[in-house]
C-alpha cells in the first residue's frame, strides 16, 4: 500500500443538505476521508446513512453544501463545468450494480469509450482497452457483446472501463449486488488486485463480507462517520512519518 503519495481523493469536512427549513435533510455531516493510490476503502452503513451521497460527491456528480472534495489535488468546487467534466472522464471511473454497459458495443468498445470521448485516437484507445481487459482477466472476451456475457464478466468490463488510461480511482456502488456469492467474490478479487497494482477504490456496500476485501472500512450512520477499521490508516502513517521528519530536522 502506497502511503507516501498525495491522496487521489480527499473529502474535507463535507456536508450535504437537501431541502430547507422543516424539510431539511442532512445526508452527510462533516465527513472527512482521504484515499491514496493503492488503497481500497469500503464505506458501510444502513440505508439512508449517506453512503451513496458520499460516492456521488466524490465523483463530482453532485456538489457539497459545505466542505471540499479534492480529486488528484484539485478542488472540484473551484472547477468550471467543463473542467469538472474532464476530471470525471479522466480521473474517476464508476462501477454500478447494473454494469451500465452499452448493449450495441462490444466489451472492448465499451471499455475504450471514455478514452475516445476524451479525444484519444481510436487505435490508442483500443490498445489501452485491451490492456485494461487483460488486467481484469477477460482479454479473450474483447469482441463479445454484453448480452453474450455473464453478469460477472460484464462487471469486469465495467471495472476495466473504470480504470482505462490514466484513471486511477474507481467508485463502486454495490457492484456485486446482482451477482451470486462466488461471482461477486471474483469481482472483488479483481478490484483488490487492481488496488494492489496501484489503483484506488471506494466501495459502497452494506455487506460486511464484501467490505472485508478493503484495506479500510469506514462506517456511516445518519450522515456521520462513526467508526473506522483496518490496518493503520494512511493518515495515521503519514502523520507518524511527518512527525519523524520533523524530529529529524530538529
Amino acid at each position: 500500500m502506497t502511503t507516501t503519495t498525495d491522496p487521489i481523493l480527499r473529502l474535507e469536512q463535507v456536508t450535504r443538505v437537501h431541502g430547507q427549513g422543516a424539510a431539511e435533510v442532512h445526508a452527510l455531516r462533516s465527513v472527512s476521508l482521504a484515499v491514496h493510490p493503492g488503497e481500497f476503502v469500503a464505506v458501510m452503513g444502513p440505508s439512508g446513512s449517506g453512503k451513496s451521497t458520499l460516492l456521488t460527491l466524490a465523483g463530482g456528480l453532485d456538489r457539497p453544501s459545505g466542505g471540499r472534495v479534492l480529486v488528484q489535488g484539485r478542488s472540484l468546487g473551484e472547477l468550471s463545468r467543463r473542467q469538472l467534466a474532464q476530471v470525471r472522464r479522466r480521473a474517476v471511473g464508476y462501477v454500478f450494480q447494473d454494469y451500465n454497459l452499452i448493449p450495441a458495443l462490444t466489451a472492448v468498445e465499451n471499455t475504450m469509450l471514455p478514452r475516445e470521448l476524451d479525444g484519444v485516437p481510436a487505435r490508442t484507445a483500443r490498445r489501452e482497452a485491451m490492456e485494461a481487459l487483460a488486467e481484469v482477466g477477460i482479454a479473450e472476451l474483447a469482441d463479445r457483446f454484453p448480452d453474450d456475457m455473464s453478469g460477472g464478466q460484464q462487471q469486469r468490463v465495467a471495472i476495466a472501463r473504470a480504470l482505462i488510461g490514466e484513471r486511477g480511482l474507481v467508485l463502486a456502488d454495490e457492484p456485486t449486488g446482482a451477482l451470486d456469492s462466488s461471482t461477486g467474490e471474483a469481482v472483488l478479487a479483481v478490484l483488490r488486485t487492481r488496488c494492489d497494482a496501484g489503483a484506488a477504490a471506494v466501495l459502497v456496500t452494506h455487506e460486511a463480507r464484501h467490505a472485508a476485501w478493503a484495506d479500510r472500512v469506514v462506517f456511516l450512520r445518519d450522515g456521520r462517520m462513526v467508526d473506522e477499521t483496518g490496518r493503520q490508516s494512511a493518515e495515521q502513517l503519514l502523520a507518524a512519518a511527518a512527525g519523524n521528519a520533523q524530529g529529524g530536522e530538529l
Binding site: 431541502g19 442532512h26 445526508a27 451521497t53 460486511a208 463480507r209 472500512v217 445518519d222 462513526v226 477499521t229
Partner: protein, 212 residues
C-alpha cells in the same frame, strides 16, 4: 468439534501415525482448531477401545501406525450421512452480552454493538486476506484437496462472521425502534436521508384532491 471423526476420515485414506494425523488435520483446517499430539493419542486410544481403529505396526523410526476397522468405516459413513445437530445452540458470549446489556442500566448498548462490529469486520478483513491467498493456491495446477479444504473452512469462518455482523446491524435497528435515542425531535427519520424532498408535490396533490 469432532476430532474423533476427523481422525477416522484421515485414517480412511490409509494407515497413519499420530504426528502425521495432527499435521494433516491442521493442513485441511489451516490450524484454525489446533490439535496437540496429546489430544491425538488420547483420541486414538479411545477409538481403539471402541474398536474403530487398530494398531498397524511400527516403522523403522518407531512411529506407531493405526488403521481404521470396518466398524470405524461404518461410524465415519454415519457421520457424513447425519447432519450436525443444531438442537442445542452453542453458548454464544456475544448474544449473552447483548441480552445483558439491554437490561443493565447505564450500559451504552449502541457502543457495545459498534465495538463488536468493528472487531468482527477486522477479523473478516483478516480472513479475507487469507482467502485471497487461498484462492490463488487453489488456482495453481498442483493444488490438491488440502488447499480446497482450507478454502472451505475459511469460507465458513467468513460467512459465520458475516452473519454476526448482520445480526449486529439488525440489533442496532431494533434498538433504534424500541429505545428512542435522546435526539432532537426534528431529526429526520432514517431512510429519508438520501432523497430530495419535494414539498410542492404534496401541496399540488391536495389541491387536486380538492378539485375532485
Amino acid at each position: 468439534m469432532s476430532i474423533k471423526h476427523g481422525l477416522l476420515a484421515l485414517l480412511d485414506q490409509g494407515p497413519r501415525y499420530g504426528y502425521q494425523l495432527r499435521t494433516e488435520f491442521e493442513a485441511r483446517t489451516g490450524a484454525t482448531w489446533p490439535l496437540n499430539v496429546g489430544q491425538v493419542y488420547t483420541t486414538l486410544g479411545r477409538l481403539e477401545r471402541d474398536g474403530l481403529v487398530l494398531p498397524d505396526g511400527e516403522d523403522e523410526e518407531g512411529h506407531l501406525f493405526y488403521r481404521v476397522t470396518d466398524r470405524g468405516r461404518a461410524e465415519l459413513r454415519n457421520w457424513f450421512e447425519t447432519p450436525v445437530p443444531r438442537t442445542n445452540p452453542p453458548r454464544d458470549e456475544l448474544a449473552i452480552k447483548l441480552a445483558m446489556a439491554v437490561t443493565v442500566p447505564g450500559v451504552d448498548v449502541q457502543a457495545v454493538v459498534q465495538g463488536q462490529r468493528r472487531h468482527s469486520i477486522q477479523a473478516l478483513q483478516d480472513y479475507t486476506r487469507l482467502k485471497a491467498r487461498a484462492l490463488a493456491a487453489v488456482a495453481e495446477p498442483a493444488a490438491g484437496g488440502t488447499e480446497l479444504a482450507w478454502l472451505l473452512v475459511l469460507d465458513q469462518l467468513i460467512f459465520q462472521t458475516e452473519a454476526e455482523v448482520r445480526w449486529l446491524d439488525h440489533c442496532e435497528t431494533r434498538l433504534a425502534q424500541h429505545r428512542p435515542q435522546p435526539v432532537p425531535a426534528q431529526e429526520p427519520a432514517p431512510g429519508t436521508g438520501e432523497q430530495e424532498p419535494a414539498p410542492t408535490t404534496r401541496g399540488r396533490g391536495k389541491q387536486r384532491q380538492g378539485e375532485r
